[in-house]
């Protein structure tokens, strides 16, 4: 009975457990500012996890998201520095100094994702290898772009997306990431594309024999991952008022971790984007809790890695049980 309820609740039950534990063990945890802080801290992970959910649902993986964050971020910063000084009218400055760089940054992220997708789907290169290669290529391109230098000092309109506050206390990045989760949920539940994403991961051949262009579905999934990576870059650059080529290092682990901990099957076909959000929240809470309890960041790395492995192991056992 208890097991059944736990199975049903899954990640949510663990989240509640951790929440309660932390509430009792630290007096700061339950404070509104701390809870909002957690949501702000996980906003980039959540953003990337949205794209990663699509990718993993199809049975793929995208290891290049961290590098795409850096590359698209640096591209935006670069374009910004190129265009901003061209005018001193504030409205023109906003358009060519903020709007255009952001849009181009997103296009660049989408393009990198497109390259991933087309080579994985048409060229039949395993997603793991392709995105591992792209992880290095995009990172290298980032360094080449500014010769390894950082770019800093952005106008307020740009920074607002990373550190603006809405309704008195809700940070803009939190709004952005939660909106993306909502949009992804709608796409997965209500569109043909969403249905095909599940079917592609569940049984690729059955989808192909149903007359669906599986290359198109698969490429789009990596494009989405590229787009949300670029959105992650906007948040990061805006928040820190700085862009360096080391941005996004290791973000792929957090994004994949959030998706897997959320219960999306690493083998594809089953999972929910809402649960990826819960997965990101769980990781964020544990990090925050360990911080409040003065546990060293090194230990945190070990703990997060361990949780990811345990989550995949659990998934493997579950799938094996289904098949027997």
């Amino acid at each position: 009975m208890i097991k059944k309820i736990l199975d049903k609740l899954g990640i949510l039950s663990i989240l509640i457990l951790v929440f309660l534990t932390l509430s009792f063990s630290s007096q700061y945890f339950l404070k509104t500012t701390n809870l909002i802080n957690i949501m702000l801290q996980i906003s980039i992970t959540t953003t990337l996890a949205v794209g990663m959910t699509f990718v993993i649902l199809t049975g793929g993986i995208d290891l290049s998201v961290g590098s795409i964050v850096a590359f698209s971020g640096m591209s935006m910063a670069f374009i910004h520095k190129l265009l901003y000084p061209l005018s001193d009218q504030s409205i023109v400055q906003f358009i060519i100094g903020t709007f255009v760089p952001i849009i181009l940054g997103i296009v660049i992220g989408a393009f990198v994702g497109f390259i991933n997708g087309i080579i994985i789907s048409k060229g039949k290169v395993p997603a793991f290898i392709m995105t591992l290669g792209m992880m290095s290529m995009a990172r290298g391109a980032t360094y080449l772009l500014t010769d390894g230098q950082f770019i800093q000092l952005f106008p307020d309109s740009f920074r607002y997306l990373g550190n603006g506050i809405l309704m008195g206390q809700i940070p803009v990045p939190v709004i952005i990431s939660l909106s993306l989760v909502l949009i992804a949920w709608w796409i997965l539940k209500y569109t043909k594309f969403g249905r095909y994403v599940y079917a592609l991961g569940g049984n690729r051949e059955a989808l192909r024999l149903s007359g669906v262009d599986i290359v198109r579905v698969e490429v789009w999934v990596y494009v989405i991952s590229g787009i949300v990576s670029a959105i992650g870059a906007i948040i990061l650059v805006g928040r820190l008022n700085l862009c360096t080529p080391v941005y996004g290092n290791g973000y792929e682990l957090d994004a994949i971790g959030a998706v897997i901990i959320g219960g999306t099957s690493i083998f594809g076909g089953e999972g929910k984007v809402g649960k990826s959000l819960l997965g990101a929240m769980l990781m964020g809470m544990i990090r925050n809790g360990l911080n409040l309890l003065n546990v060293s960041p090194n230990v945190q790395l070990v703990v997060i890695g361990l949780i990811v492995v345990v989550a995949v192991f659990y998934d493997k056992v579950r799938v094996k049980n289904l098949n027997s």
């Binding site: 209500y190 569109t191 043909k192 594309f193 249905r195 599940y198 079917a199 569940g202 049984n203 051949e205 059955a206 989808l207 192909r208 024999l209 149903s210 007359g211 669906v212 262009d213 076909g269 089953e270 289904l322």
Partner: protein, 491 residues
Amino acid sequence: MHNISKYFPGVKALDDVTFNLKKGEVHCLLGENGAGKSTLIKILSGALKLDKGEIYIKGKKVEIEKSQDSKNLGIGTIYQEMNLVPSMTVIENMFLGDEICRNISIDNREMKKKAKAVLERIKVQIRLEDLIKDLSIAKQQSVEIAKSLIFKKEILIMDEPTSSLSDKDIQELFRIIKKLKTQEVSIIYISHRLQEIPQIADRITVLRDGKVVNSVDVGEVNTSDLIEMMIGRTLEEYSVPQKKKIGKLALEVRNLSKKNKIEDISFKSYKGEILGFAGLVGSGRTELMKIIFGADKADSGEILIEGKSLKGNSIQDAIKKGVSYLSENRAVDGLVLGMTISNNITLANLSSVSKGFVIQLPKEATTSKKIIDKMRIATTSIEKIVRFLSGGNQQKVVVGKWLLTDSEILIFDEPTRGIDVGAKAEIYHLINDLADNGKSIIVVSSDLPEIMRICSRIIVMKDGKITGELENNEKTTQKEVMQFMLGDIKP
């Protein structure tokens, strides 16, 4: 083997089978697909456990629980599909899993000595350092045989060893078999090629529906007798298919070829007709259907739907022009097992329940519900995950999915494999209904009585070619069809 029985859920794969093998003889096992041959040898080789019965070797009762037991008892098995690692050398393959070691390092010299002795024994010349993938199929098979002989084997099981060999290679294989006979190795030989049996076998046992029909010496019978034994008297039990009103030409295939798969295939299929494709497993029927459906590419030839040519290699185009393909293995490529019944049904025609790219969930639900009722799929909810349905109900979901695409030509590949009798009857009924409604139906089946029962016309394929075509009426016999399936067999 005495009174062997093996049960699978719902079927008796082997029913009270007794089988004996003499020293130094080649004993041929015959039977149609699904007669129980494979089950029998799987029990001997330890791949399956018997449910009832006893096995004796040289008068001593033995237990075979796993493949290691079988190996230790001196039984070697050569399966139809090769079990070699292509990227490893001949000698590495021969000793895979049984490497000879001195202390902890592999003793290459000793292995070489043994391997050479074995190859000498069957008089085959192969360089031990060659990679398997560089060898011809025939040579690969010799390696398989040599591998099974390294450790003293007295019983050798060969499952359709000639199925992928050329005539010349077959003679080479027979030479090896004869050599082994003189060395007192007993061989169980499974083959569909009736014409080669007199050349090599000493005795023949025929299986049908999991039972032994007869065991005879090879001199006592001719091929015609053997065919009769394989088919049995099941013929009378099946009625002749209903008379169909044949309509206009629906599908025409002209000179379709694909290297190593199918050769120069031409046929026509009409509205209201149920056209059957008979043949052995691997005769190229599924490959042909996949090409028609656009899932595979032909080298040459043309496919016409109501006079209009298909693009070829485009499933989208085939579906648009009204072709459906219900694949032979629904779990592998027919269904997404982890999705709901409803989602599977609409997968091939989501547009019919969508506005633009947005799915109208309520419309999807009512559409699926209609199909579920029409197909009489036993389920409590349209949201049930397909994995948890029975084989028969799963198959109905597949059929339902293609009904939704409103196809004019429906290709059923092994429509009743692995489903129970009741569900079978329902599927037959449905196929008949579809034909009556003017659809053109093509049924591929390895179950001959099934073809005889539902198809109005039968095309027989063998080795990628059409070997015969006959109207199915009162006078048509299974024996006639069988003769086309097995090829040239003058007694």
